[in-house]
Amino acid sequence: MVVMIPEMNFGWLIPEITIAVFAVITLLLSLLWKKGGLKPFLGVLPLIGAVVALYYTFHLWNGNLDLFNRLYTIDNFGTFFKAVSLIILILVILLSFRYVDREDIVVGEYYALLLFGTLGMMILVSSNNFITMFIGLEMMSISIYILCGLLAGNLKSVEASLKYFLLGAFATAFLLYGIALIYATTGTIDIREVATYVKGGGFLVTPTFMAGLALLIVGFGFKTASVPFHMWTPDVYEGAPTSITAYMATGVKAAAFGAFLRVLFTAFHPFFSGWTIMLWILAVATMTLGNITALKQDDVKRMLAYSSIAHAGYILIALAVGDRTLSSTVLYYLLVYSFMTIGAFAVVIIIGRKDSPNTGIESYAGLAGRHPVVAAVMAVFLFSLAGVPPLAGFMGKFYILTDAIRAGYYWLAIIGVLNSVVAAYYYLRVVMYMYFKEAQTDIGLPDFSVGSAVAIAISVWAVFHLGIFPRTFLMIAYKSSQIFM
């Protein structure tokens, strides 16, 4: 038996290697610096790592090749999602500087796990092989399980960690069984070979294949927090440290949707009629349930958790439509959604204090009088989430719904529009509290810091820029989804 040694071209992996190296260095330095007063500066190291990795990720653009016996793929789709994960990582690190200090979180583990989680996302979105995809998914999930429980001594945080771990492991088992069933039918774990198998003659829709596909959708539905696999979302988002909530709501969702899109549109697209109805139901249930439950939330952090479920529903519309030429709108939407959600969570972080997180809606009463700038930026993010033009959230929804209409999914588009009307109520309720209510209790000025100010400024700029000049980014998204052609 001749063993082929694959060509070792590590040059294409520089972003991943950078992140891994910086994660290890952060972990080691946190031990050395434990006693010294250098601890607050430890966050700078992962920030440098993330920026360097982002710089090299831009250089991967337009590179198309398979590495390591087709286990790893470099293409524009993966590069786009890698860049998105790294941008999210940078924003989350900027938010964390002050927050980690305030909440007494163990710094070294915190930043190292953030970096390892991002490494997992980067692997997850750039593999055309179920093994690599699974490894990336687990790397991301396991880091997040730990990060959720890092508020030591806080029962809510530890409970969130336990819940996410048990349900996450349960969902992983489903996903794996789905992969195993597809392997048992097709005999391959390369998703492009699955596509060839499905396209090829003599393909019968066997129960094993259908069950495999359904279990795969369950597994990804869990990671993207789609109804009915969303039960964990509000609890975990509420209990976890707020910076990690922002990270989960954006990074994990974006990466999981990236992999979901790749699997569905590469491997199973020839078999489109088999899954469009499943995703149709999933999209409608996710949007409706997310929005209706969000209506009665009095806790802003929980409200944003339900809102993130609802947004997953809008993205699922585009997946259900399943038009591969139009899949770029999903990418654009995920980018937009990440900026506005991180911005909203950043404001939640700076309103909070060590022993009183101040996430109740009454804490926002009269914010406009106390601190007009913070109230104004929160209003921008909430308007964008509600989909008010000219902000980015409007453009994202507009393109997704236009695609649905163009493909003839009128009911789906109508339900989507009705849902965004419902959603406007709970977003605007917070704005109403900020501008038209008197504060009941004095919670003091927002806990501002340079890092969070920079993160909020970047998010505000992005929300306006992506909304008013979407063309450049749509072109990038379009080029990224060319791999499905």
């Binding site: 399980y145 730990i146 771990f165 088992a173 774990i189």
Partner: protein, 103 residues
């Protein structure tokens, strides 16, 4: 001479194990028992990979099993650490008592 087991038998056995695991994970209340049920599900996955890899005479399934086992070990390490943390704060790892966050 040993007779080879038909792959269908292994597929059915793996489906049965997976179902037992899934039902156990849903109905049990102790976090450790839930986690054991999840491990059972992962072992059903391994069995299916091995059996179908054998049927197709391909190595992919066998290789996958190594990764599943490794990840299961990592999950066990992280999971047990989380259980210990919960036990310290609450005095039990019973899923019924973990109810501070409303569902």
């Amino acid at each position: 001479m040993l007779q080879e087991i038909p792959p269908n038998y292994s597929y059915i056995l793996s489906a049965i194990i997976f179902t037992i695991g899934a039902v156990g994970a849903i109905t049990r209340r102790n976090a450790i028992v839930i986690f054991m049920s999840i491990e059972l599900m992962l072992n059903a996955v391994n069995l299916l990979f091995i059996a179908s890899g054998n049927a197709f005479a391909s190595m992919d399934g066998t290789v996958f099993v190594f990764f599943v086992m490794t990840v299961a070990a990592v999950e066990a390490a992280v999971g047990l650490a989380i259980f210990v943390m919960v036990h310290r704060l609450k005095g039990s790892v019973n899923a019924d008592e973990v109810n501070l966050l409303k569902g």
